[in-house]
Amino acid sequence: MRRSEPHERSAPVVRLSNVTVRYNSGESALEGVSFELAPGERVAVVGANGAGKSTLLKVIAGILPPATGTVDVYGHGAGGHICIGYVPQRSQVDWNFPVTVSEVVLMGRVARMGLFRHAGRRDWQIVHDSLAQVDMQGLAKRQIGELSGGQQQRVFIARALAQEAEVLLMDEPLTGLDVPSQEAIFAILDALRVRRMTVLVSTHDLHLAAERFDRLMLLKRRLLGFGTPAEVLTAGNLRLAYGTQMTVIEAPEGALAFGDTCCEGEEEGHNHA
């Protein structure tokens, strides 16, 4: 059995200190980013396309090494934490792949099963329970491409649960979903909050980010702000973050922002160093 890195329960769940990530070209994708996440909080990562939202999630997951700075999860370096659940952008998944819903969830168990072992009764029980928590047990035998977008997101959340994740990173899970599907995901996240799951969600939807999260993080390669919506979404910060993609009007009753900060597929074409 593969052991995860030890956890220091007194340390922040995630701590980045002065993290810089570069593309192969030498250009920076993230620059000097520092912050800490507390157990059980739900944080939205917002910013324009190419602001480094996906990169930030990958650095925390230990998939991309930072060029400088340190990433700690529960007080120990990133990488080696099988307690991190990752829900990829929908455009990054091959939905024609011949796997069923329950087989995708079972993948979360792979590291705990160990080499040369096949899934046992306990693993399948965990898969079943994880699907039940996201209300998907009825579709367990479907091929993943046969699901709706919201159902697909729920399957990947179930996979993180089967993985026994304590931190959940979600890359644009709300993009392209209708309101009922978004609400279904928030209902699951509410249930996870009770279990002290720390959740970091990248989104381009400033409205949802401001309304449905504990804190939000505004990125433009650098961290422009991290705190409550009132602290972060100031007229000055929005201009810095979105430039000409957004019009900010300062009215007597406060700042009004207009703009479409969409879309999916951010940062796909880049090669990371």
């Binding site: 230990g62 998939i63 990829p88 091959d94 024609n96 792949f97 069923t100 087989e103 993948m107 996979r159």
Partner: protein, 283 residues
């Protein structure tokens, strides 16, 4: 009908050829599911062609077709697979560019080497399009041993290959040795290609890897089912192709590949819910 089926079996070379074609059909098709799912068809074709100089050197040293062709091919195939893996991993060249350069260069070297022999055209034809009726008992043993090894690895590392192919990001988070499995898969593809060479030859081996798996992908929604379907198509094509070759008197390698291709076209047209005709009918 029975006579029609039994008649070719009176020849020992036909029996050996059929056994070889069935084994190659199964191993290529099962491994081929990963080639298709991971989009590695061009890589497979390249390794098949790049094996030629290895065959040529073994042929020249061994003094004829009885020489250690298998081992020459194996060295060249595995070497090429690792080389392509290393070059494309560096990130300065796109993978298909690296493959294109190595593939053409190795193939040219192979043809150049073979052109120094007197039987140039006959020998080259056998290398390019296979000579399944020339399979010896020793060849058959090598095919069985290495084919079984490849199948064993696919079963033993089933869940690892599945995760790495479906979601490499998860594989990295779970600390699976993704690079090890990536190279292992490249080597397994190279080994499979080398055992397929005598049956269908350098130029057509990619069809045995890709075509049955592609047809199976239209007919199944689960990986184990896709592997079994592909294996059945591969084995059937091997047998049907050899009978076709025996009765219609066409070259055996191309006959096998043509049967595969016909099955693929049928699946493409008729597959439930994915075939062309189904889509037309629904509309």
């Amino acid at each position: 009908m029975l006579d029609w089926l039994l008649a070719p079996l009176q020849y020992e070379f036909m029996v050996r050829g059929l056994l070889a074609a069935v084994m190659v059909g199964i191993v290529c098709a099962v491994l081929g599911t990963y080639v298709v799912l991971r989009g590695m068809a061009f890589f497979g074709d390249a390794v098949a062609h790049a094996v030629l100089p290895g065959l040529a050197v073994a042929y020249l040293i061994g003094g004829g077709p009885e020489g250690p062709l298998f081992w020459g091919g194996l060295v060249a195939g595995v070497g090429t697979a690792m080389g392509i893996g290393a070059i494309s991993r560096g990130g300065h060249l796109k993978e298909d560019t690296a493959i294109g350069v190595i593939f053409a260069g190795m193939f040219a070297l192979g043809v150049a080497l073979i052109s120094t022999t007197r039987n140039f055209t006959v020998d080259l034809t056998h290398f390019l399009f296979g000579n399944v009726l020339g399979v010896s008992a020793a060849d058959l043993r090598l095919t069985a041993v290495f084919g079984a090894l490849v199948l064993l690895l696919i079963v033993a590392f089933y869940k690892e290959f599945l995760v790495i192919s479906f979601d490499p990001v998860l594989a990295t988070i779970l600390r699976l040795p993704t690079q090890f499995f990536r190279y292992l898969l490249l080597v397994m593809i190279a080994v499979t290609i080398v055992i397929a060479l005598q049956t269908v030859g350098v130029a057509l081996t990619v069809a045995m890897l890709v075509t049955p798996a592609a047809a199976a992908s239209l007919l199944s929604r689960r990986l184990p089912v896709m592997m079994a379907t592909a294996a059945a198509i591969g084995a059937f094509s091997g047998v049907a192709g050899l009978y076709l070759s025996y009765y219609v008197n066409v070259a055996s390698g191309p006959a096998i590949v043509l049967v595969c291709t016909a099955i693929f076209l049928l699946a493409f047209l008729l597959a439930p819910s994915r075939g062309l005709i189904w889509h037309r009918a629904v509309r």
